[in-house]
């Protein structure tokens, strides 16, 4: 734990990060930006896992291991997302959400 | 970071006596950073000079020998020249990223330098996951190259940056895995403890066959990761001008340049630490004089640096596809098998201990 810093402050910071991620997810119009916002959201939650593990249950490691798994899943997800985006770009020469909407017609 | 250098302990005590605890810590951090910057600059310049002299020697010519004794001040003069040069840039470049890129490269090199144990007490940051930290830091450096290439708004730079990115990401695996092979013997990631283990014999001896394989892979992959010949596709002059730093001039160019040499030094230093006992003297002949560890460390490192320069001036450049083939089809499988072999050796306790 960090001397002089209570868990509330850290959770506040992660909450703020989380909602910044949500804001980005909703307002951005580009697939890559959306992907980045998702990463932000994921990271905010990962910090929560780690912080709660450290502050409340320092003898255990579940939080750390969970965050490791989340990071692994995030890596897999990003690899797939990037490959999809690149494939999409090859087909329609754009990664804007509004252009991808053509698929729904 | 609180574990400061032993040699600065005196300074620490003195600082603490004249100001508050926090301020003393702060001033101490600044001082250490300045020391490392100094090391960085001097080592970088010196390495450039060595490179040039070695190149000249390989090519049977003289090399810089006019400025100072045997041209020792040559690179210093070059640095002064670069400092005084105009900083040019392309019109439509993304200025923010364009300026940011060199610092990325420099800062990551510096951070890597911080964990390297020059001698028992000359180590800024003895973190308990030292090697992992080195791997992590070295993977960030490539971002600077990518940024520099892209934000220059120049197609050669972009291609160079892409090549560099591909190359670094690929060879990172081999670097990491070959170091991991050695971790199997040491059982720790902390660099100081790794050296401690080697008091029974350097790891390259302890681990014999797999250790030698791992060392060779590490040297190849390390050379590739620093974008040096024969893996210098990122800045292949004959194809791309100067690669990702085509559009840089003056000091910014110097940063890239220095960082490249410092990275080479860092690779050599890691190899020294992990394979050749770091600051340990051969057979413990100078155990009694701790400060001589710096000499031994630098001697071993310089030998490896010379080895890498030897590569550079000996081997022809690879093509991109050959480069990737080498990594993914040969080095990586070999590395994985090597780990299994090393695991077997550790399990069956076939380690050679002196």
């Amino acid at each position: 734990m960090i001397p002089g810093i209570s868990i509330y402050e850290i959770l506040t910071v992660t909450s703020i990060l989380f909602f910044i991620g949500v804001y980005g997810f909703i307002t951005r119009k580009n697939l890559i930006s959306i992907l980045m916002s998702v990463e932000l959201i994921l990271n905010a939650s990962v910090i929560n896992f780690v912080i709660i593990n450290k502050y409340l249950y320092p003898d255990m490691l579940q939080g750390v291991l969970f965050s490791l798994f989340i990071i692994a899943v995030a890596a897999a997800e990003t690899a797939l997302a990037v490959s999809i985006i690149i494939n999409l770009y090859r087909q329609i020469s754009s990664v804007e959400v509004k252009d991808i909407e053509t698929m729904k017609h | 970071m609180t574990k400061a250098l032993s040699i600065t302990k005196g300074i620490h005590d003195w600082l603490s006596s004249i100001m508050s605890e926090n301020a003393a810590n702060f001033v101490e951090m600044v001082l250490i950073a300045l020391v490392y910057l100094g090391i960085f600059a001097i080592a970088g310049l010196f390495l450039v000079l060595i490179e040039r002299r070695v190149a000249a020697w390989f090519q049977l010519r003289v090399g810089p020998n006019r400025v100072g004794f045997q041209g020792l001040l040559q690179t210093m003069a070059d640095a002064l020249k670069l400092l005084s040069k105009e900083l040019t840039g392309t019109e439509k470049a993304d200025k923010f990223l364009y300026n940011l890129a060199p610092y990325f490269v420099i800062v990551t090199s510096l951070m890597a330098l911080a964990v390297i144990p020059f001698t028992q007490e000359f180590q800024a940051f003895d973190i308990n996951i030292g090697i992992l930290f080195l791997i992590a830091i070295s993977s960030i450096g490539v971002i600077g190259i990518l940024l520099g290439g892209w934000s220059s708004n120049n197609k050669f730079a972009l291609i160079g940056a892409m090549r560099s990115g591909v190359q670094t990401i690929s060879y990172e695996l081999s670097v990491g895995l070959s170091l991991l092979t050695m971790i199997l013997i040491t059982g720790t990631l902390q660099l100081s403890e790794i050296i401690e283990v080697q008091k029974n014999g350097w790891l390259i001896v302890q681990g014999h066959i797999p250790a030698i394989i791992a060392f060779m892979i590490f040297m190849i992959a390390g050379t590739a990761e620093t974008n040096r010949a024969p893996f210098d596709m990122a800045e292949a002059e004959s194809e791309l001008g100067a690669g990702f730093h085509t559009e840089y001039s003056g000091m910014k160019f110097a940063y890239f340049f220095l960082a490249e040499f410092i990275n080479m030094f860092i690779i050599a230093a890691i190899a020294t630490t992990v394979f050749f006992g770091g600051w340990l003297s051969p057979f413990g002949i100078t155990e009694s004089i701790p400060l001589l560890g710096v000499f031994w460390f630098l001697a071993k490192t310089m030998f490896l640096v010379f080895l890498m320069m030897w590569f550079r001036w000996t081997f022809p450049r690879l093509r991109v596809d050959q480069l990737l083939t080498l990594e993914w089809k040969y080095l990586l499988p070999l590395n994985l098998m090597n780990i299994v072999l090393m695991a077997l050796i550790v399990w069956l306790n076939l380690i050679i201990k002196l």
Binding site: M1, I26, S33 | G165
Partner: protein, 178 residues
């Protein structure tokens, strides 16, 4: 000391996160995100989870960000600027996010956390043992599942990114055979 560092890190993270989701330049936004991730790694260093911090740096900074930069390099031109949402949408989203943040914070501050004072350092060996343990509370099964997932993702990514080309190639070879 640590307090100051934490506040600096928190400031960096929040400022760059905001910059990341509002910047109109693609690659800058990615770099801001990188700063946020590095800040997070810094927080991990601060709470003495060094291994996690190094993993964060390696995977996120060295892997994911580089991948994203690659995709940006492939699909984006330097002069392109991102479209931004309509102001009305921005405002509504901001309000919703602030409301949600308020809900989060009230909930967090209303809860009494049972903080345990402990300054044990977690070593890599402990994590590794726990991860590969098959006793109660061991994580060997998720570990294996994750490894399969990563393999699947790797294969999938290659196939997705390559799919069209393969088709074209087979098409071409058919044409040439005719």
């Amino acid at each position: 000391m640590e307090r100051v560092i934490f506040y600096i890190l928190a400031l960096i993270m929040i400022v760059f996160a905001i910059a990341s989701v509002t910047s109109r330049k693609m690659l800058r936004s990615v770099i801001y995100l990188l700063f946020v991730l590095c800040g997070i790694a810094g927080v991990y260093f601060l709470i003495d989870y060094n291994f996690l911090a190094a993993i964060q740096l390696t995977v996120y900074a060295g892997g994911i960000i580089v991948l994203i930069i690659f995709s940006v390099l492939l699909v984006h031109h330097i002069e392109m600027e991102l479209e931004i949402a309509k102001p009305s949408k921005q405002i509504i989203t901001t309000i919703a996010c602030l409301l949600g943040l308020g809900v989060f914070l009230t909930t967090i501050y209303a809860h009494e956390f049972n903080v345990v004072e402990n300054s044990l350092t977690t070593t890599t060996a402990e994590i590794g043992t726990k991860l590969l343990s098959y006793d109660a509370g061991g994580f060997i099964l998720p570990f294996e599942v994750i490894s399969v997932l990563l393999l699947a993702a790797m294969v999938g990514a290659i196939i997705i990114a390559k799919g069209r080309k393969l088709e074209e190639r087979s098409q071409k070879s058919e044409d040439s055979s005719i």
